[in-house]
């Protein structure tokens, strides 16, 4: 009986999720595994949103910015690793699109084929791309978060600012044709390689790479929100001013979680590039960032696992419905209806709904045990 507590049930749910994710390759072909691995990446974005929106009360409508940055940083490295980049008439790799826009007679070398191309030089090293994929989103979040939270900007203004910044960067990316192939994004990438193992997206190993990292992020995030930092953060969400009068520097706490959330999104962006083999400005579309928020709302933004599952389930539904011939016209309507239904009927999302059911069950069980003891 002592084992049946709220926390233990939650831990069991986390455990079950991890076991299922790890066993999936036994039941699926590589095509579906590749799909699921992309959905796991979206699940990771759900975790990031749950952390910033659910736990910290920061509604970030520009999470796509961090996702996109992570994606582009690794994609630059993988672009240089692509065979086409080596076949441009130079010993050193040069992205093919740079030649399309270069001036006649420009040297075919990253140093000076165009004005900004030298920025690509360190990306020849794949691990530099990986490091930047984490560092850049975190750094942007640090500067943005510090500016916002020091000035005590909160609520809807944070949403507007993050959204605007994301769109602004998207425009800059589209505009940067010579540097990162603008509107077309980075395609024709090489494979991510670790110690001779090439992560072809249609390989079970690639699925496991993404699955294991997703599970680690989930466990890490769960650990983090259960430390005192996590409790203080929830207190800030509840009543920021009160926390300030206890002596906590509220802005620092918010910036910290904003950065963690951004780093997770950046990591997700990199994994997405590995699974999907491209990076494009569409990652910074408004629609995508809002989708992330919808996933978290449906799954339950106060639950990390809930938000993660919300992302995965909605994407599975979307894929199945949009590929069923009779529903092909209506799939967006169906997703919209699910969203409305969940938000209206279960304001705490699927996870909150299940949690409530489990709480009732536990209460009932404990009551029964007590009665039996009295008898």
């Amino acid at each position: 009986m002592q084992l049946l507590t709220r926390t233990n049930l939650q831990l069991a749910a986390y455990g079950l999720f991890i076991v299922v994710v790890m066993l999936l390759p036994l039941f699926m072909d590589v095509f579906w595994l590749n799909r699921i691995s992309k959905y796991l990446v979206f699940g990771m974005l759900g975790i990031a949103i749950s952390m910033s929106w659910g736990y910290a009360g920061i509604l970030n409508l520009g999470q796509g910015l961090f996702f996109g940055f992570g994606a582009y940083m690794l994609a630059m490295s993988l672009k240089l690793a692509s065979p086409t980049s080596l076949a441009q008439g130079s010993d050193e790799p040069v992205p093919d699109f740079m030649l399309w826009t270069s001036e006649p007679g420009a040297p075919i070398d990253l140093c000076c084929i165009n004005q900004g191309s030298f920025l690509w030089i360190p990306f020849k090293e794949q691990w530099f791309g990986v490091a930047m994929g984490l560092v850049m989103p975190t750094l942007i979040a640090l500067v943005l978060g510090y500016a916002m939270f020091r000035a005590r900007i909160a609520g809807v203004y944070v949403a507007i600012l993050t959204l605007a910044l994301c769109l602004l960067v998207r425009l800059l990316v589209i505009d940067a044709q010579p540097l990162i192939n603008g509107f077309n994004g980075l395609t024709d990438l090489g494979w991510f390689t670790v110690g001779g193992l090439e992560f072809d997206p249609y390989l079970v190993e690639t699925y496991y790479l993404i699955a294991i990292i997703t599970c680690l992020v989930l466990i890490g995030a769960r650990w983090l929100v259960n430390t005192k930092v996590g409790v203080v953060l929830q207190a800030i969400r509840d009543n920021e001013e009160r926390v300030r009068y206890l002596g906590y520097d509220v802005a620092v706490y918010k910036v910290f979680f904003f950065c963690i959330s951004a780093a997770i999104a950046g990591l997700a962006g990199m994994l997405y590039v590995i699974a999907a083999e491209f990076a494009s400005p569409t990652f910074m579309n408004i629609g995508f960032s809002i989708s992330m928020v919808v996933w978290a709302a449906v799954g339950g933004r106060w639950s990390l696992l809930g938000a993660c599952l919300g992302a995965i389930l909605l994407n599975v539904v979307e894929a199945t419905v949009s590929e069923t011939e009779t529903l092909v016209e209506a799939w967006q309507l169906i997703i919209g209806a699910i969203f409305l239904f969940v938000v209206l009927v279960m304001p705490r999302g699927l996870a909150g709904f299940i949690q409530q059911g489990a709480d009732w069950g536990l209460d009932w069980l404990h009551q029964r045990v007590k009665e039996r003891r009295i008898r």
Binding site: L224, N226, T227, K228, V229, V231, V232, Q234, A235, R237, D238, N239, E241, R242, V243, R244, Y245, L246, G247, Y248, D249, V250, V252, Y253, F256
Partner: protein, 251 residues
Amino acid sequence: MAAILEIEELEVNFRGFRAVDGFSMAVEEGELRVLIGANGAGKTTLMDLITGRTKSTGGKVTFLGDNITNRQEHKIARRGIGRKFQVPSVFKDLTVRENLEVAYTRSLSVWRNLAVRAKPRRVDRQIERALELSSLTEENTNLAGNLSHGQTQWLELGMVLMQNPKLVLLDEPTAGMTALETEKTSEIINSLKGEHSIIVVEHDMTFVRSICEVITVMHLGKKLAEGTVEQIENDPTVIDAYLGSGGITHA
């Protein structure tokens, strides 16, 4: 005894309206000071000025020898000033225990708090004490949002106890309480006395008599009088300011 808090000629000007207007006061270490005054006398504004919520436009606040005038809220709080708000403010979505845990402010930085839950024994003992004092032991795993009004007020007092500040500011701790709850509250406050210096804003004179040593009367942002309960109750200027012979007893 040395003064722990010294307020000199403090002033705040809200676009021409001086809510606090050249107010001076000194509170000694371990003292319990009651602040009374009609609505709009500037009592809550004074607390806002001390804790940095409102920036003053003149004068000086010295705490433990440091000039803390217009510093950031969290820095003033770290120096050792705790506050209980007029409207009970606890963290409604956290459990009673978590509320107290947050109020334990020996470690405030993000990095240290990543590890602090790993060694909870010393903190636990303090939490048990605070729970006992605020009679919330049975409720410790309930969400604070489900507590009654009186319990919420006690929880906030428990949080002040956890925070363990040198100076405690209490803004109307008995507002909206039944007589029985008020009695319990004065018990809690009396147990805080001695270890902490306390400033209480209060209207309820029965309550004031049960806890008080020295009263300061505020009127229109200025200090009107200061003294013991008897001195204040018989002070003609105070009686005048409180509209007639009813005096402050019925204020």
